[in-house]
């Protein structure tokens, strides 16, 4: 059973339907007690970082997520759900994150090294460079296109957490992970074949549903 963390900040409908297509059982939880003993968790998220941290706290999920990560339970953060796993974000002023990955979330500068401006958000299909193709999450995933849509980007001092990146004027962390905790900047449920493969790998290889 996959627990979908429902703290009021996500497009839960699409991801839940994607799990149905994969025939993976799931349930939503607005409180930790609703999804206490699931085999794995999905942390979705759309919206602003400060609002999301506040909502996670109000729903009582901050200690819950940290305990589950420590206990080795697989967790997949999606989009803003990935960004929340880092130490802090610049969005809406300095906001602390969950601190489960080293690094912080910054806005795309919108200007490259040559001083030329580029478009923000990073929106559209971009090809992944796989840095850790041996990871179970990446089974049968190739250097395929996935759909990005974000204005803020993760920056980490620890390259060992980078499973895949994409090139958009800088190296954009596309998939990050360490042991049982994985996350993608893009929405796997909106990223065609590769995205569905990632979700399937998470649910069936990492969680063993």
């Amino acid at each position: 059973m996959i627990g979908i963390i429902d703290y009021g900040m996500g497009n839960l409908f699409s991801v839940s339907k994607a799990l149905e297509r994969l025939k993976v059982p799931y349930k939503f939880g607005e409180r930790p007690a609703d999804i206490e003993n699931c085999d794995g968790y999905i942390l979705p998220g759309v919206g602003a970082f400060p609002d999301a941290m506040k909502a996670l706290e109000e729903h009582g999920f901050i200690p819950f997520i940290k305990e589950k990560v420590k206990a080795g339970v697989p967790i997949y953060g999606i989009c803003l759900g990935m960004q929340l796993l880092f130490e802090a974000s610049d969005e809406g002023g300095e906001t602390a994150g969950l601190g489960l990955f080293p690094g912080r979330i910054v806005r795309f500068p919108g200007v490259n090294e040559k001083g030329e401006s580029y478009k923000v958000p990073h929106m559209g299909w971009n090809k992944m460079n796989l840095l850790k193709p041996e990871e179970p999450l990446l089974s049968d995933v190739k250097e395929e296109y996935v759909y990005f849509v974000h204005s803020f980007v993760a920056q980490t001092p620890d390259p060992s957490i980078l499973y895949a990146t994409a090139d958009y004027h800088l190296d954009v962390p596309a998939i990050v992970g360490r042991n049982n905790l994985v996350a993608s900047q893009f929405h796997p449920e909106k990223s065609g074949r590769a995205g569905m493969q990632l979700l399937e790998n998470f649910c069936k290889v990492m969680v063993k549903q």
Partner: protein
């Protein structure tokens, strides 16, 4: 780098696609989900559904369409037409759409762009702009209500204002070119691209694969939208992408 996006647009009226009649090889050519699947298989990068329902029931039905598409497809889609309030935006996005496009409602009340962007992020908020060249003004003028009502906005000024208010993408339709099949309106696109720094979707005028090549190489549009040439099978998304790839344009 980002690939150039090809986006078929489906007009939906009372829950039925109104232009998809040439797809005789699918079970129900009026079914938005069936058509969406065909386009997905052909390699469409995104879809736009434009609700042109006149009735309240039709608008309710559109939410069912949104849910069905989100349930069955793994590509992003935008919903426009008749979205007038933050409540409408919430309902559309919560039922699985990735973006909403706001046209007349944004011109009438630009705050709506800000409300939507504050709540969901600007990446979910597309401003759809219909523009026609105005000889008297010497530039393009923005129209609302499906092109029936001229506004007081010059297109470049409205594009800048909409982005300032929170729009994360612009769907720019040339009324001069729409339906002509003589190519996209490159001067209009160039004018708007010159004043904003968000992705721009070119719309109006697509008649051949070459037209897509032109819009991606000459004015560097991020995406291009077409309806009838895909619906009436004058070409397919797959053909357009194969042509672009051969010519060195990055496509998925």
């Amino acid at each position: 780098m980002l690939s150039k996006r090809i986006i078929p647009c489906l007009d939906v009226k009372e829950g039925r696609v109104v232009k998809g009649i040439q797809f005789v090889d699918i079970r129900d050519a009026g079914d938005p989900v069936e058509l969406a699947k065909v386009y997905d298989e052909q390699g469409a990068d995104e879809l736009v559904f434009l609700d042109i329902s006149a009735t309240h029931e039709g608008k309710k039905t559109m939410i069912d369409v949104v849910r069905s598409v989100a349930s069955e497809l793994a590509i992003p889609f935008t919903v426009g037409g008749g979205i007038r309030s933050l409540e409408d935006i919430k309902e559309t996005l919560r039922n699985g759409a990735d973006k909403v496009s706001l046209n007349s409602s944004a011109v009438n009340r630009p705050e709506l762009l800000t409300e939507g962007a504050d709540y969901f992020g600007s990446q979910c908020i597309v401003v759809a702009i219909d523009a026609r060249y105005d000889e008297e003004w010497g530039t393009w003028r923005v129209y609302t209500r499906g092109g029936r009502t001229p506004s007081e906005w010059k297109v470049t000024e409205w594009a800048e204002e909409a982005v300032r208010r929170g729009a994360g993408e612009i769907l720019l339709t040339s009324m001069n070119k729409d339906g002509e099949k003589t190519g996209f309106d490159l001067p209009l696109l160039e004018a708007v691209q010159g004043v904003v720094n968000v992705p721009v979707i070119a719309s109006g005028g697509a008649g051949s694969s070459e037209h897509f090549y032109d819009v991606f190489t000459e004015v560097d549009a991020d995406a291009a939208l077409a309806a009838s040439i895909f619906h009436y099978k004058e070409t397919s998304v797959a053909n357009v992408k194969a042509y672009l790839k051969e010519k060195g344009v990055i496509v998925r």
